[in-house]
């Protein structure tokens, strides 16, 4: 059981800055803390750290400005795109063969991944240490999205989900990774990127 506690302590302490993580783990080792107490201690520290992060404007901007509206927008655009694709590939719907609609479909095929990447990038740059929470909230849209996908694409649900992952999920993850690597950005860059989202 003690090993399980320590494994959890290890996992949870990943949310701390590396220097603080080392200092805290060293303190636990030196004071011979039990696994259970160490787990409570690290949980308390991580919760306090997370709460302190929300004193800043960036996590709030990420939540109110991105996770909510952009999550809805991207879900709607992805679903529209999947609906169009399902008609195009499976239903042979005659209206979808017009040049204009094929152009719209092609536009969406570019727009959705670009928007997803941009949203991920801005979120990664803005929030960094609260990104896991923002991502979890962002993923709250997925059950709704999956239910709608199942409605649209009865013949190819696995293909549709794969498509959704390629167009929506992976670009957002790549954008977030890029945003984290670039570090925290000032106010000017999010304002420049926001209209694109």
């Amino acid at each position: 059981m003690n090993r399980a506690w320590w494994w959890l302590v290890d996992r949870i302490s990943q949310a701390l800055e590396p220097s603080e993580r080392d200092a805290v783990r060293g303190d636990f080792a030196e004071s011979g803390e039990s696994g259970g107490r160490a787990l409570l201690g690290i949980l308390g520290l991580v919760v306090r750290r997370q709460l302190l992060l929300w004193k800043d404007w960036r996590p709030w901007l990420g939540l109110i400005g991105l996770v909510g509206p952009v999550g809805v927008l991207l879900t709607i655009r992805t679903l529209a795109l999947l609906g169009g694709l399902s008609y195009f590939f499976w239903a042979s719907y005659p209206a979808m063969t017009t040049g204009e609609q094929i152009l719209l479909l092609g536009g969406d095929l570019v727009l959705v991944p670009v928007l997803s990447w941009t949203a991920g990038f801005v979120l990664g740059s803005l929030t960094r240490r609260t990104l896991w929470l923002h991502s979890a909230l962002f993923c709250l849209w997925l059950p709704y999205s999956h239910a709608r996908v199942a409605h649209y694409v009865r013949q190819g649900i696995v293909f549709a989900l794969l498509f959704e992952a390629v167009l929506f999920f992976f670009p957002a993850v790549l954008g977030a990774r890029w945003g984290i690597r670039k570090g925290t950005i000032g106010l000017r860059r999010p304002i420049c990127y926001a209209p694109q989202s």
Binding site: A23, R25, D27, E30
Partner: protein, 114 residues
Amino acid sequence: MCGTPGPSKRWSESEFEYLLLSSAARLGEDSYGAAIREDLEKSIGRRCSIGALYTTLERLEAKGLIETWMGDATPQRGGRPKRMVRVTAKGVRAAADFYNAVMRVSRGVSWVRP
């Protein structure tokens, strides 16, 4: 967080800051996370959470009352470094002012538990 036995279970933020400054000043060159925690627990007779300790250290550092840096790693700590703490001149002044104020205001007062 650490607390006093009795009806008042918790220290306020500023009280805990003062306790931590006093402990760090007492420990001198040997002042670091685990040592401060042990010293505080001995002094106040209650457990002190690592969360309260490290967030208060950060707050004190942001106020310029202490300086911290990463010390050497030791085998006793599983090869991990210590977060060393030093009370700054500003921290000494702030702690002394607080202590003097408490001493002045307490003159002639007898605290007897009901």
